[in-house]
Assembly symmetry: C2
Homo-oligomer: 508 residues x 2
């Protein structure tokens, strides 16, 4: 009987692995599109990606696939058919079913129409942003909202249509929970920001200016290696918008960009994308093809990148070790900068208009603006045409500044044009996961600062691996946090972390 | 009735285009493997490529595909079912049938076994070459020969089993024809080589030494643009073995390598690979998905690369324009080198052991050694273990030199380990096609030297486009040559070209 169950499992794994291989190919093609592809190849690339996506969808919902999964679980009720299977395998089977139901929920005609709309919208959005003219984009945003509302109905939800959208990126998270978490964060960060605004700002002029690109990259590559990333399995390139992409745990790619006047930007980007890559490279290869070798959610992914970028890369012990290395790299440029001055400069808090350039304190406020607008759009209490006014109003309320134009306001992000409603909250959820995990990490490694200040980072990777990476998707975000930290997931660790760090920095 | 035929055609084109898109993805993945892929990604890449190849094979031989093709042509007899279709479409339909029969001829089990054998053999060959030990490779070569003999039986042939293998790379070419052509070439080149060997060699020391890699690439990129290649659709990278790869006429990639001590090597490689890319980029996009947008054969492909590398890139008018540019690029290094000296140096003829480094006169002799050995192996008159002796014997006979070891002899090429019997002859066939086409080109453009010596190359691209590229696979190699030049394909133009050029160079 056990043998039979294992046989069924392995047989389904084989089908799923076949799809995973195709998904890996898709990743390489997408990476190539952003890094290498000659610009004239864009049209055929879009056809290539659509063709692949079509094949994957077809295979993931084929009769053969469903019938093989049905031998493991009752697709309708979700009841596992073989109690003797390991808990990990049972978790995998449940996730296979979840994914299948999600794939089946959206009619093919809807998926095609949605893809068509977003591929038009992205071009319209690009132009609208260039022309600083939201009106060009508004009718498309209206359609995107409408299709997202429809998507929510197809996917189904208990309480709020936004739940269904959120779930595509952050399974098992509800709009109600996020609203509660974000309200608490909003209160704390706004209040902290008001106090910081009264304080004297640190000097950070030494971060700006011309720094050799080659040396920036040498330093960044050293950090990637110090993080414990095996460069036999990972490469670094440039792209307009940095990202990380893995076609398999054994083949991961990071991209970065050189900021024209701020050398710290590239370093933090590399740590950030390195965190994403390390997660993908740490997924258990032996389960490749099953959800046990997949990432949990965008939020958990973001927790890994934020971990390396902010918790480590913007910490004092880190720079205790690396500032001398940096001084040596850019000879003469940072000789007079002390550790304290440097630490204060890279953690400077200042309300600004662009989300991707925001600091740790104001970043969540940018996310909250978007989350609340998305929710209102999906609820139908806000129309696309009124987004600029609402955006500017909320930005003023939360950040105390108003965008001079929509390019610096509601036209700045690509996400809506891509149809990705429910995506933004995962950034801040990621920060929260990271903070709660870090609290436990500090308990497990009370002397972490000592190690890091000696340039020893490998133990961090090991901790993340055993706590997060190796489990794949076995647990939901919330369950993983509970399992690792022993506490229910909440915003507390995050707020504590931010308040402690920045009250000390700004002497509040 | 016409509408119905067109409907059937378009419907089959749609299926075929779907496969072509997947083949294009395969090309990007292979390109990535050689240029970008982290070394640790090799295992999963092999699975990715095999998975794609499997899907393509399945789709190209599916019931749906066959049934749709059957509406256009009788698969068994080859009779076209709709006389009202255009000649081009009829040609496409016949080629679809040809490809289908080839795909169907090989049983799946055979294809898998063959792929397994060659993927092992390539590793064994690499080691054997490294260890300079042919005995390690011999048993694998035996198996490869055996499977190629079997492949020939599956594919079928009229006269010689080698015909079937040759046909995979050069359709409609027979062993008998190639033997005859090559015997004539062998005679001429051997006799010419003997005469050259008695002459004083030109000095070419100025070609060697250290030349800035950056400047080499700048010069090479300028040539690519001068050839009329649109860099919006083509990129250049480095790889161990240079190649050209196109996933679509709108996305082509060239790779090159910098020779450590000879700057002319990289220039000629870029012209060569540029010729391949120009062919692929010139295939008619409007027919994409049908054989009318595919290359004819490896031989015709090679004619395009040889055209740019040798006919143009090693000609005097070319360097009349570019030598001054080169002098300016490598300031001080070539100031004293006259056009004549330069022209003689880059066309120096000298028997050597390595095929890929051979000059125009000795290159075909290297190919003939391989062709005759392949033929004997397939006929069963030669055993793998006796290859080194036979190789050395023939090399001595044709080139007058004997390899000191097998690394410089029969272990130098990768082709056999890949299972590619029938591939080598296409190099020399390509030279012959190029020469016969060039004869016609000279008639059409009697003042070509004047234009080229002014750096005007675009008219060459235009001639190649209208004569070769735009036809796709509509004609066979031999038919194309006949159609363009008005003469039956023969070795004459090739022998004339080589003899005239080198008799003048060596004052024979």
């Amino acid at each position: 009987m056990t043998n039979q169950a294992e046989k069924f499992y392995n047989s389904h794994l084989k089908l799923s692995r076949h799809c995973a291989v195709l998904e890996g190919i898709n990743k390489v093609m997408q990476w190539d599109q952003e890094t290498c592809m000659p610009p004239g190849g864009a049209t055929i690339r879009s056809e290539q990606l659509q063709t692949l996506a079509g094949i994957i969808h077809k295979e993931r919902t084929s009769k053969k696939y469903i019938s093989s999964l049905s031998k493991l679980i009752d697709i309708e009720t979700g009841e596992i058919k073989h109690d003797e299977l390991s808990p990990a395998k049972k978790a995998a089977i449940k996730l296979w079913r979840r994914d299948l139901l999600q794939q089946q929920a959206l009619p093919n005609s809807f998926v095609k129409k949605f893809a068509q709309l977003t591929s038009e919208s992205i071009l319209i959005w690009r132009n609208a942003r260039k022309n600083n003219n939201f009106e060009e984009f508004a009718p498309y945003l209206d359609k995107i909202v409408e299709m997202n509302q429809q998507k929510a109905e197809y996917l189904g939800y208990d309480q709020h249509p936004y739940d269904a959208l959120l779930n595509s990126f952050e399974p098992e998270m509800t709009t109600e929970e996020v609203t509660k978490l974000f309200n608490s964060v909003k209160k704390s960060m706004s209040s902290l920001l008001k106090k910081i605004n009264l304080k004297k700002q640190p000097s950070d002029s030494f971060l700006h200016g011309k720094f050799s690109e080659k040396k920036q990259m040498e330093f960044g590559e050293m950090l990637i290696e110090d993080m414990g990333i095996d460069t036999d399995h990972c490469r670094i390139d440039f792209s307009t918008h940095p990202f990380s992409s893995s076609s398999h745990p054994s083949d991961s790619r990071i991209t970065t960009r050189i900021h024209p006047t701020n050398f710290i930007s590239n370093i933090l980007v590399l740590l950030h994308e390195g965190g994403h890559s390390q997660y993908e490279m740490g997924l258990p290869e032996e389960h490749y093809g099953s959800p046990l070798a997949e990432a949990i959610s965008l939020g958990i992914h973001e927790s890994q990148s934020q971990w390396w970028e902010a918790k480590i890369g913007m910490s004092k012990p880190f720079w205790k070790h690396y500032l001398p290395v940096l001084r040596n790299t850019f000879k003469g440029k940072l000789d007079k900068v002390t550790l304290n001055t440097f630490y204060k400069a890279i953690n400077k808090v200042e309300p600004s208009l662009i989300r991707v350039e925001a600091d740790e304190v104001t970043y969540p406020l940018h996310v909250i603006v978007r989350f609340e607008l998305e929710k209102a759009l999906i609820e139908g209490t806000l129309e696309a045409k009124d987004v600029p006014t609402a955006w500017n109003h909320m930005t003023e309320e939360l950040l105390g500044i108003v965008p001079e134009n929509d390019r610096l306001g509601c036209l700045q992000d690509i996400h809506w044009s891509l149809g990705g409603f429910g995506y933004f909250p995962t950034y801040t959820l990621g920060n929260m996961y990271a903070a709660q995990l870090f609290e436990k990490f500090e308990k497990d490694h009370p002397d972490w600062e000592k190690h890091v200040s000696r340039g020893n980072l490998e133990f961090i990777k090991e901790w993340l691996h055993k706590s997060v990476h190796k489990h794949g998707r076995r647990y939901s975000s919330k369950d993983l946090i509970k399992k690792v930290t022993g506490k229910k997931f909440s915003e507390k660790a995050y707020i504590n972390y931010i308040e402690n760090k920045y009250k000390e920095l700004y002497k509040i």
